[in-house]
């Protein structure tokens, strides 16, 4: 077997090497040595990005499963498997991220025996465990099909309704509970982001991101794995995304209106710059774009609108978890390079596992396997695309 060293493979190797070095520092020198977290900033990039954003980006799983199996949106059937795969990998990597962030990860199982039902963190933990299990079962048919095991597929079919309902229930609880975590810090989190509505906002934004991520992913894998894009799928998702964004925008507006902050948020300040960035990326750009029919029918423009949405809500999560605390604490938190490197390593692992799964499992419907390449829609060469294709080789 010939192993070719491509550019992206080299990038992957560099990321993994640095990540492993940082992991060594994490486990043999401690959290203080590997991160810029402190008594003033006990939660850093790993909670803000790996956990909050990671779970949010995995929301596509329950959104698409819900649309297809609860509301019979048959058109989206072809994206169920990639969406479930992304969600499953997202959750597995979220747990990997936790193993870095927890001070005593070897006691993570304490969650199961020393339960504190008053703790939001307990709810988060239980949801992670149970939903990852549900996603595992939703993902299993891919493996059974690969090895042509008919009997277990039939078993899973039988419990599928339960898995679907359970999956959506747990996602609702989990996405919103990540917002509830911050409810206990009314005096610390900046009022732009502290609101009693946090759990609702977190859930609503997860739905929007779930849809945006599915558009992003479909386009990206179409490019990377040489499949043709199904325009009806993207058009449906784009329309749904527009509705979801309007709902989110309305919720945000209502929240600021009722808390009397509308005049505050337009005044320039450290926080409002970050808020403007967030609102521009989450609402102004994608809503404006998606309002044009031309955009909703163009895979490239839909792709851009979805990227803006995803980046916008990532900004939102980082604002809630990091930026919103800086004024209270009185100084800035800038993650150490080793923190970034571990986050990057986890993302790279995600890309690699995704491409391995796509390569060896029937994630994409058989009839779509691109034999006639000319049919596929050409998209601009995109960063990351090549990683998707080659990282897992």
């Amino acid at each position: 077997m010939k192993i070719k060293l491509t550019f992206w493979k080299a990038v992957f190797i560099v990321i993994m090497t640095l990540g492993l070095y940082s992991s060594f520092i994490r486990y043999f020198r401690g959290l203080g040595a590997v991160s810029n977290m402190s008594d003033q900033f006990p939660w850093g990039l790993w909670i803000g990005f790996d956990c909050l954003c990671g779970v949010m980006l995995a929301a596509g799983g329950f959104c698409i499963v819900g649309a297809v199996y609860l509301f019979n949106v048959e058109r989206l059937h072809s994206v169920v498997r990639p969406a479930v795969l992304t969600a499953f990998l997202g959750y597995v990597l979220f747990i990997v991220g936790l193993l870095f962030d927890l001070g005593r990860p070897w006691y993570i199982w304490h969650q199961l025996i020393y339960m504190n039902p008053h703790s939001v963190m307990f709810e988060v933990g239980m949801c992670v465990m149970t939903y990852t299990t549900v996603l595992f079962f939703e993902f299993l048919p891919n493996v059974f099909e690969r090895f042509n095991l008919q009997a277990p597929i039939r078993w899973i079919r039988k419990i599928y309704p339960v898995l679907i309902v359970l999956g959506i229930l747990l996602s609702t609880l989990h996405q919103s509970s990540l917002g509830s975590l911050y409810l206990i810090m009314p005096s610390k989190l900046h009022p732009f982001w502290y609101t009693p509505a946090l759990p609702f906002l977190f859930f609503a934004s997860a739905v929007a991101v779930g849809l945006a991520m599915t558009i992003f992913e479909s386009t990206q894998s179409a490019k990377a794995f040489g499949r043709h894009l199904e325009l009806p799928v993207l058009v449906t998702l784009g329309g749904a995304l527009l509705v979801a964004l309007w709902v989110n925008a309305l919720l945000r507006f209502e929240d600021y209106f009722h808390r009397g902050l509308l005049t505050q948020i337009v005044k320039p300040s450290y926080e409002s710059y970050f808020l403007w960035l967030e609102l521009t990326l989450t609402f102004v750009i994608p809503i404006t774009m998606l309002s044009f029919k031309k955009v909703r029918l163009s895979p490239q423009l839909l792709y851009l609108a979805s990227i803006s949405t995803v980046l916008g809500f990532i900004t939102n999560r980082l604002n809630v978890s990091l930026i919103g605390f800086e004024t209270y604490v009185g100084h800035h938190y800038v993650p150490k390079w080793t923190e970034f490197s571990i986050t990057l390593m986890i993302i790279a692992m995600g890309f690699a596992l995704f491409s391995v799964a796509v390569k060896y499992l029937p994630i994409f419907p058989q009839e779509q396997r691109a034999v006639n390449r000319p049919r596929r829609i050409e998209t601009e060469p995109l960063v990351g695309t090549a990683v998707l294709t080659h990282a897992g080789d």
């Binding site: 008594d39 609860l70 969650q111 339960m115 504190n116 703790s119 309704p161 009314p186």
Partner: protein, 256 residues
Amino acid sequence: MSKALLYDATMCIGCKQCEAACAQQNKLPYDDRVAAESVQSEHKYTVVMTKNDKFMRRLCMHCEHPACASACPVGAFHKTKEGPVVYDVWKCIGCRYCMVACAFNQPKYEWGSLNPRVRKCIMCPDRVVAGKQTACAEICPTGATKFGDREDLVKEAQERIRQNPTTYLPRIYGLNEVGGTSVLILSSTKVEEYRYPASEKIGNTPMPEYTGRVMSWIPDFIPAWSLVLGGIYWISHRREEVAEAEAEEKKNGSAR
């Protein structure tokens, strides 16, 4: 009855004997270097701060309704009936939610350790249970830190303010803040100048209530939402079945 500490900043002479006694009680290092540190840390549970020849002590407030205890997913913190908020290290998984949840920023972390613990004043629970004072109250030469029943100490504090209204600011910090704390502070200057959170900022609502409201919905939410989701599933698939059956009928009908 629940025990408490009353710290009267006007009586404090800044001798830092409480710091030393605390370190000794909790087997923490204490020397001139540590004594000079003006912030709390994983090796310094209490600190006496100096500002314009006035002193102020900081330590865990031992809230009546502690945020840390409600936040901890494994219940590593709990408020004992005697008053102290204590920490069971063997339960802790290291999520540090207690640290972000605490309105007074009291839990500190052993960032340099490979098996880190959360560290904070635990109000000498062994001594308190045994009917003794806390180490800091016992050693205090002026009685600035006084140990006793919370109700008695509140009365005494009110009495001191009444008798010396010019000396004291007319408030007992910790009486109602976040639903009341087991550490009460009397002073002639605003405690906010010593990095204590402002009363109006933290409010009088016990911190656990902010998350408790949401958490209390969950037992109702789970069955209700499952029913809704299950119902939608059933309806949409029932429609499918009916459509299939109708199509079948039509086919049979036209074939006939």
